[in-house]
Amino acid sequence: MIDLRGRPAHADTTFRWLAIAAAGIVLVVLGLIAVIMTRRALPVFSEMGVHFFTSKRWSPADELYGSLAFLWGTLYTSAIAIALSLPVSLGVALFVTQVAPPKLRRPLVYVIDLVAVIPSVVFGLWGILVLAPHLGRSFLTAGVILAIMITPIITSLAREVIETTPPGEKEAALALGATRWEMIVGSVWPHSKSGLVGAVMLGLGRAMGETIAAALVIGSALGQITANPFASGNSMPAVIANEWGEADDLHKSALIALAVVLFLITIAVNLIATAIVRRSTARSRGK
């Protein structure tokens, strides 16, 4: 008995430390990414200084690297994608969970989850060979491809969130004579709001970081800052993918610097999302 107790205790500690180490890997990897990438990006930061962020001129021939236009392109295409995708994915998620006849629900959910895993390179292939010849290569084309890509993902997440609405609340609304729409607005929406923000933010993160699909159809114009959706532009990940092959020293450093900035933006988006979710859950608890 004593022997038995002694050994498991030892194994217990080992297991515990193993688990802590596994969790710590996340921090190690993120730390490594930050350190290694920043070190490689340093040459361009020291060369360009603040102009890396404020200038829109990107000219490898002159060794001038300003990322402002690509930041704009990333934000603009993501905004187009979210604007197109948000109403559609919320609509579909609500339709599937609240409106569709019960018999249809399961197959619909299956199909949505299935299309959510279609790889982005497949959308890129379709974009460049089928869509671009008709629509041209522009912010809009990239936004549309991104929207098609993230809609199933947001829908799939939104559905999971919406399904957590307690059936009691929904039935109560219906019992009080609410129409189905009023039930959605009155019961489902307040309950799912914060979760939906999370779902959308995840979609936004995907759209901003998406490389291949955007790289193929965005048009790759340098220095374009315009609200005209039909203009060619560029986004940060697309620039990295398109220019990496022919990049020399400082140019390569500039591309890695773009990756670092992109990384920081995704962290910022995550922080904002967390803050929104926390505030709205706190408010609904306060009620």
């Binding site: 021939a61 340098l222 220095g223 398109n242 220019e243 020399d248």
Partner: protein, 353 residues
Amino acid sequence: MKLRLAIALAALALSCGKKDDGGNGGNAGKTTEGGGGGLVTLDASGSTFQKAFEEVAIEAYTKQHPNVKINYGAGGSGKGRQDLADMVVDFAGSDAPYKDADKAKLKGGDVLYFPILLGAVSVSYHLDGVAKLQLSPETVAKIFQRDIKKWNDPAIAADNPGVTLPATDITVAHRADGSGTTDIFTHFLDGGSAGAWKLKAGGTVEWPADTQAGNGNSGVAQIVTATNGAIGYVDLSDAKAAKLSYAAIKNAAGKYITPDAASVSAAGDGIAVKDDLTFSAVNSKGDAAYPITGQTWVIVYAKPADKQKAAAIKAYLAFLLGDGQKLAPDVDFAPLPKALQDKAIAQLGKIQT
């Protein structure tokens, strides 16, 4: 505990993987156990310009030598040079030599440049009703930086006496990705247009905003095919594959020359070659030379870290510079001029095996 075992196994396998590479630092491809006569894999990366030639050459060579495998990843010249510098690959394909500043970063010591072919970049266009077009470098420069916006511009008309040009708008198509093709084309404009070209030379260029970009040669070809009034620069082999029309370009001797194997080879005759076999074939002086002719090298270390691979690299290069040259016209490239070919073959002896 199974999980732990799995991790331990993974770690073990990992450390074995490292040890396999031995002291040589370079590690591309797998080396063979059990010595001579085994399978040798050569990894290479670089220029997309020479990709089509590498493909047919590798196919022909590995058919003769089934114990050799060669992987050529066409990720761009810059990537090829970087990969070779880091010893990630056994040889690089590149349309440009290393810059002096980069030479210190070569982890494997001195490198050798082997020119393997010459190739043309076509100025392809799509203009209904115009079957033949001639352009001078100044006009090409003005078109591509959008100083000229209509096809019936006097400058174009001056290059094409007797041709009726429509008032169609010009659509300029260029590469979206950084590219050796862009590099060759812009070097031609930079050096040949008597100062008309303002956008400088390089693999990535600040094109005016009202131009269109396509990915790869096919992307540019696609835009040209789809748009009446479009003009773009496309590798000759891809331009032919996409059935594009292309212009005759005025060369340094003042003659309008259409790109083909003869005019491209002719470009190789009128150039100054340095001792390390680097040179530029763009804007060649020859009378019959096509001016937008690009060069491309295979770059290897003079002392490859792995002896067995060194022998394989040498043998493959001997093939590229010998029998392999006959394959170049099949993919619309031109073989090296004889003098250059001989110099390159002589240099093979410098690879230490």
